[in-house]
Amino acid sequence: MKFHYGMPIFAGLIIFLGLVTFPLWFNAPSEAYKDPEPKLPTEAEVKAAGFDTFACVESTQFMREKHMQLLDEWRDWALRDGKRSYTNAQGQTFEISLQKTCMKCHTSKKEFCDKCHEATAVTPYCWDCHIEPEGYNETH
């Protein structure tokens, strides 16, 4: 088989294949991928925080997909419209507040928020304005 300028072309081809197969060889030596495990509150902790029900504001799958949208809407309602109460699909009403509602149960940014955000390389800008809750500095 006759090749013309085979050496430089194959060198380039090998570099290209190395680059596009990056995820394969990058992950090969590390351990098997594990889902991030955000620390979820226990029922006792939720009761102690002063909530009647153990469930979150919305369903788990809703929160997994759309929590950022909910928080964004909450910010607009609370700070721009002055609306401070949120009623979910089950008819339960919550106070619209990151610190007084969400973080009552999800007390630690490091143990809860950061787990998934680090796994997916996301840097939300919540904390540009909000003060990171207590417990963050101790564990960080």
Binding site: H4, T120, Y125
Partner: protein
């Protein structure tokens, strides 16, 4: 019409995963089998194409008149447009690959109705659309690596941060999404708008444009509108690149993800057999990657037959008497039967 066929074809490609996942529940097939097969076709097809091209004979140097070639000492050479050495050619290739210098030279013919002069004028639109699109697409592709690596290398985190630095909306608007969609739309509009470009456009021109637009829009719909479970998606993508397929959370992922993946898979599988192979082909462009040194170096045609030199004297020595007999003038008097 070809544009319409392409559009209908892309719609069909969207329907396949919608039905396959929505009705037939073939999540594993569409999230793992299809993309893995597409990547194998992409890699094998790419290697096959490059092998095929490497086996093709390389033409003689093609000097392009983009600039003054190397000449007398007092004539300034345009080294990057008309290089005469390997290093200068390397710079021409860098500029070509990273800044699309030949598109920058795009011209159009204009008739000045006032003066009646027909002439060429600069037309940078193609270059600008191409730059927007290619860099947008490149950043989008690299940014996706956050879903294929664990731990995520810092460079992809920076890219993710920088791309969303405007902090518009939640999740943040990626600037590269804007670049990609703007670029590809402008390229498509240019193809439909300019009657001369439209005349030479084929299915294979419209289809990749519409397919990439479909990929971009499905991704944008998934991220900003439908909203999907990214952590579940990362579990699936990591399972795919580490070949561990047990307990992947397919049921947590919305249909828009499967549409996006199917369109990307189609693009990958189609890539090596389409005009998109200019990704590899640009490096093998004979008008770009060869120095203009035809008057400096002796280039021997590699497939020349081995012909021994045969002078006229030797020729006349072989055929002189016969030539004389046929009335053809000969030099050597002996061939005319005369004494020297």
């Amino acid at each position: 019409m070809t544009a319409m066929y392409s559009l209908v074809f892309v719609f069909l490609l969207v329907l396949i995963p919608l039905i396959g996942v929505g009705s037939a529940h073939l999540e594993f097939f569409f999230a793992v089998c299809v993309p893995t097969t597409a990547i194998i076709i992409f890699l094998a097809g790419f290697v096959y194409k490059i092998f095929q091209w490497t086996r093709s004979p390389v033409p003689f140097r093609i000097p392009t008149t983009g600039g003054q070639q190397q000449s007398l000492d007092w004539i300034k050479q345009n080294k990057w447009d008309n290089p005469s050495t390997g290093a200068q050619t390397f710079i021409r290739m860098l500029l070509e690959v990273f800044t699309f210098r030949s598109l920058f030279r795009n011209t159009k013919v204009d008739l000045n109705k006032g003066t009646g002069v027909l002439g060429y004028s600069s037309s940078k639109w193609l270059w600008m659309f191409a730059i927007l699109f290619h860099y947008g697409f490149f950043i989008v592709a690299v940014r996706h690596m956050r879903l294929f690596t664990e731990p995520v290398p810092i460079i992809f985190e920076w890219l993710e941060f920088g791309d969303g630095i405007l902090q518009l909306g939640v999740p943040r608007l990626y600037l590269s999404d804007l670049l990609l969609v703007t670029g590809i739309s402008l390229l498509l509009i240019r193809r439909l708008w300019d009657s001369r470009v439209r005349y030479i456009s084929l299915f294979t021109d419209y289809f990749p444009l519409l397919l990439i637009l479909g990929v971009a829009l499905s991704g944008i719909y998934m991220r900003y509108f439908a909203k999907v479970d990214v952590v579940a998606i990362k579990a699936v993508t990591m399972g795919m690149v580490t070949f561990s397929y047990a307990n992947l959370p397919f049921e947590q992922i919305g249909a828009s993800f499967y549409v996006h993946v199917f369109l990307v898979s189609t693009l990958l599988a189609y890539f090596p057999f389409s005009k998109l192979m200019h990704l590899g082909g640009v490096f093998l462009s004979p008008t770009r990657n060869m120095p203009n040194d035809t008057r400096i170096k002796h280039h021997e045609n590699p497939w020349n037959p081995d012909i021994k030199p045969h002078s006229y004297e030797a020729y006349e020595k072989d055929f002189g008497p016969a030539m004389h007999e046929a009335g053809i003038p000969v030099v050597d008097p002996a061939n005319r039967g005369e004494q020297a």
